[in-house]
């Protein structure tokens, strides 16, 4: 079981995730149309790139935009959750060792304390997002079972990972569950709302180009949109 999860299934999940995401990313931009979207994308590449860049990086900074500033609680929840789900999979020491064994190199690693902290942050913030979904009427009306499912499969690797880390019960079982749930996330990324992992950049870039080229960027406005 463990060999299958860390062997063939790992490679399949990684392949599907990367190829699927890349394909959709390319298709997104191929599907943009100057006439339907009413944005002269190719005529003003510089203004477009400036708008796209600003639109992306401002939203990546906590409290970098008015949207983040006006809603501090969800901003903290979002960034707490996303810091965990991005940093831990890539930079946890255990993951680095696994990566080393698979591809022969690894990125820098997080200290054990920081890894624990970020994992807990992801679980706590994820739970906060789930509760928010169910409690606030303006979010509940939008919520579908799919949203809850996506959130649960995103938190699952952290819960199972922490159970394995603290060796609650059967370590081997939790480790396998942890790997499996991580691979489920990889497989889900190109086909579900998790596609926002990469489509966030595409969509923000599009709106940034729209404003940067057509709706004020070339009039000197420096909004983050």
């Amino acid at each position: 079981m463990h060999d299958f999860l860390t062997g063939p299934l790992f490679w399949i999940a990684l392949f599907v995730c990367l190829v699927g995401s890349l394909t959709r990313f390319v298709l997104y931009f191929k599907g943009l149309s100057w006439q339907l979207d009413r944005v002269a994308y190719t005529t003003y590449p510089q203004a477009g790139a400036k708008g796209a860049f600003r639109s992306i990086y401002k939203w990546l900074i906590p409290f970098g935009t008015r949207g983040w500033q006006t809603q501090p609680f969800i901003t903290l929840g979002f960034f707490g959750f996303h810091l965990g789900v991005i940093l831990v999979p890539l930079f946890l020491t255990g993951h680095a060792l696994f990566m080393e064994s698979k591809v022969g190199f690894h990125f820098f690693t997080l200290s054990v304390g920081l890894g624990d902290f970020l994992s807990w942050t992801a679980v706590v913030a994820g739970t906060f997002l789930l509760i928010r979904r169910l409690v606030l009427p303006e979010v509940r009306i939008l919520t579908t079972w799919n949203d809850i499912f996506i959130l649960l499969i995103s938190i699952a690797p952290f819960v199972t990972g922490l159970l394995a880390r603290y060796q609650v019960g059967d370590y081997g079982f939790w480790l396998n569950m942890h790997i499996l749930s991580g691979e489920v996330v990889l497989l889900a990324i190109p086909f579900t709302k998790l596609s926002h992992v990469f489509l966030f950049f595409a969509s923000r870039a599009q709106l940034g180009m729209d404003y940067g080229i057509k709706r004020g960027g070339m009039k000197g406005t420096k909004m983050a949109w």
């Binding site: 298709l27 997104y28 931009f29 191929k30 599907g31 943009l32 149309s33 100057w34 006439q35 339907l36 979207d37 009413r38 944005v39 002269a40 005529t43 003003y44 639109s55 939203w59 935009t65 008015r66 949207g67 983040w68 006006t70 809603q71 969800i74 979002f78 979904r133 606030l136 009427p137 303006e138 979010v139 509940r140 009306i141 939008l142 919520t143 579908t144 949203d147 709302k193 596609s195 926002h196 489509l199 966030f200 595409a202 969509s203 923000r204 599009q206 709106l207 940034g208 729209d210 080229i213 057509k214 709706r215 004020g216 960027g217 070339m218 009039k219 000197g220 406005t221 909004m223 949109w225």
Partner: protein, 462 residues
């Protein structure tokens, strides 16, 4: 019954057809017939397959259902924060459902979608700035309006409005002759006060080609005279086209894209014919949006530009004041608390906030200009944008929508509101009528005329 006599999928193309629809008072028969109007599902789905591409599909797909757009929507705020007014819900439950069901929706669905598209969204695009994923719901509502229009599910006044553009190339039944005659007549009225004042019609190669809103011709002709006086005092070499003078587009509010193209091409034809150095449009927000921002794309111009460079009235006025072409008498500047309405169509959607602030710095004595909160790109819609002002069926909803602007104005303490946009101006007039908060409202032109230093050679001989 599939197609009604008044309410159907046909476009209105001639003055007779316009009159026929107008004869149905308040659209009573029109809306009655709409209850039985069938949905051409094949057409609906085919249109979507052809025109709904990656940008919008992705928006609908990756919407995280986080609800962060809720607080950005003034209609959500003034309607008791009911969840049905959350922008993401409004679009997912209309356009989102149509796509999910591959166009397989019924009459009741379409009528609700019509209400949401025209009475629950003014296409102000504010929510787009508050979405982490950059989802611009206002753009999607514009698109949805096009689908609804194509199926005949469009408010009566906007069906007429789009028809007016098709029949007259103007939003009202104002002919080219009416326009020129009215302009000339109004200028004559002021000739004695401003010797040499004229309205140069169809002059080739002028520095400025001026375009207007047909309402000015029909209901506020003094606005035309004021424009002429200001160009005259600024020493501008200007002209108006006898054809292609109408800058507005109710067709844009209606979602009649073919009529949008016809209308804007009439203005572009005038540009090609008269070859002005640039075009200046009147104090209207959506007219600028239609002719300058969106129009080039409707007309198939890949560079996104009109044939001649085109600017908004506030850009011209700011330039005239900044360069000293027009000089304000400091004694006559506004010396009372005054605030400014930022039009969504050219502030949020075209970045012209500096021009209007420059103007305020010239015409208001220091310390009297009070910004609304929030302002500039973050300002709220006046409450009547996107066609909302003109729809009788949704008047009650529109009046509720005015509450946000009412409260914003009250909070400034100002008794004078400057609104360089026809739609905003109307909405602010209506909110005073409805809520009586004791304010006055004005375009820029009449204020400027009262406070300019008029050089001696422009004055009448004693």
């Amino acid at each position: 019954m599939p197609q009604g006599i008044y309410c159907n999928r046909q476009t209105i193309n001639t003055p007779d057809e316009v009159n026929k629809l107008l004869s149905d008072t308040s659209g009573n028969n029109y809306y009655q017939e709409m209850k039985d109007l069938d949905v051409d599902r094949d057409l609906l789905w085919k249109t979507i397959e052809k025109t709904c591409k990656s940008r919008m599909r992705t928006w609908l797909e990756i919407c995280a259902h986080c609800g962060m757009c809720a607080d950005s929507c003034f209609l959500y705020e003034v309607n008791g924060r009911v969840p049905e007014q959350v922008p993401a819900y409004k679009i997912q439950s209309t356009l989102g459902e149509i796509i999910k069901k591959k166009g397989n929706v019924d009459n009741a669905f379409m009528r609700r979608a019509m209400k949401v598209a025209w009475a629950e969204c003014t296409c102000c695009n504010r929510c787009g700035m508050y979405c982490p994923h950059g989802i611009d719901t206002g753009i999607m509502f514009g698109y949805l309006r096009g689908l609804l229009y194509q199926q005949g599910f469009v408010p009566w006044e906007l069906k007429i409005g789009a028809g007016m553009h098709r029949a007259y190339r103007a939003q009202m039944d104002v002919t080219d002759e009416d326009f020129v005659e009215t302009f000339e007549w109004m200028v004559e009225e002021y000739e004695d006060d401003f010797p040499g004042l004229t309205v140069p019609v169809d002059v080739e190669g002028a520095d400025i080609m001026y375009t207007v809103n047909a309402r000015e011709v029909k209901h506020y002709p003094e606005d035309l005279a004021e424009a002429a006086i200001l160009f005259h005092l600024a020493g501008e070499n200007w002209t108006v086209p006898s054809k292609g003078w109408e800058q507005t587009s109710l067709a844009m509010f209606a979602g009649d894209w073919a009529a949008c193209k016809m209308q804007v091409e009439s203005v572009y034809d005038a540009m090609e014919r008269l070859k002005p150095r640039r075009m200046v449009g009147t104090e209207c927000g959506h007219a600028h949006r239609a002719t300058v921002i969106e129009g080039p794309y409707w007309a198939g111009r890949k560079n996104g530009l009109s044939p001649a460079p085109a600017i908004h009235y506030v850009e011209w006025l700011a330039e005239a004041l900044n360069t000293g072409k027009l000089k304000v008498d400091p004694e006559k500047r506004i010396k009372e608390p005054v605030t400014l309405q930022d039009s969504c169509n050219y502030i949020r959607n075209h970045g012209l906030k500096k021009a209007t602030r420059d103007i305020m710095s010239h015409i208001v004595a220091p310390g009297y200009f009070i910004e609304m909160a929030p302002n500039k790109e973050h300002n709220y819609c006046c409450g009547g944008g996107g066609g909302f002002n003109g729809i009788g069926k949704f008047r009650k909803e529109r009046n509720i929508a005015l509450i946000k602007k009412r409260d914003q104005i009250i909070d400034t303490g100002a008794k004078l509101v400057i609104a360089p946009c026809h739609n905003c101006w109307d909405a602010i007039r209506d909110l005073e009528e409805e809520y009586e908060i004791g304010i006055r409202w004005s375009f820029l032109k009449p204020l400027l005329i009262e406070m300019l230093i008029i050089p001696d050679h422009f004055k009448p001989e004693e």
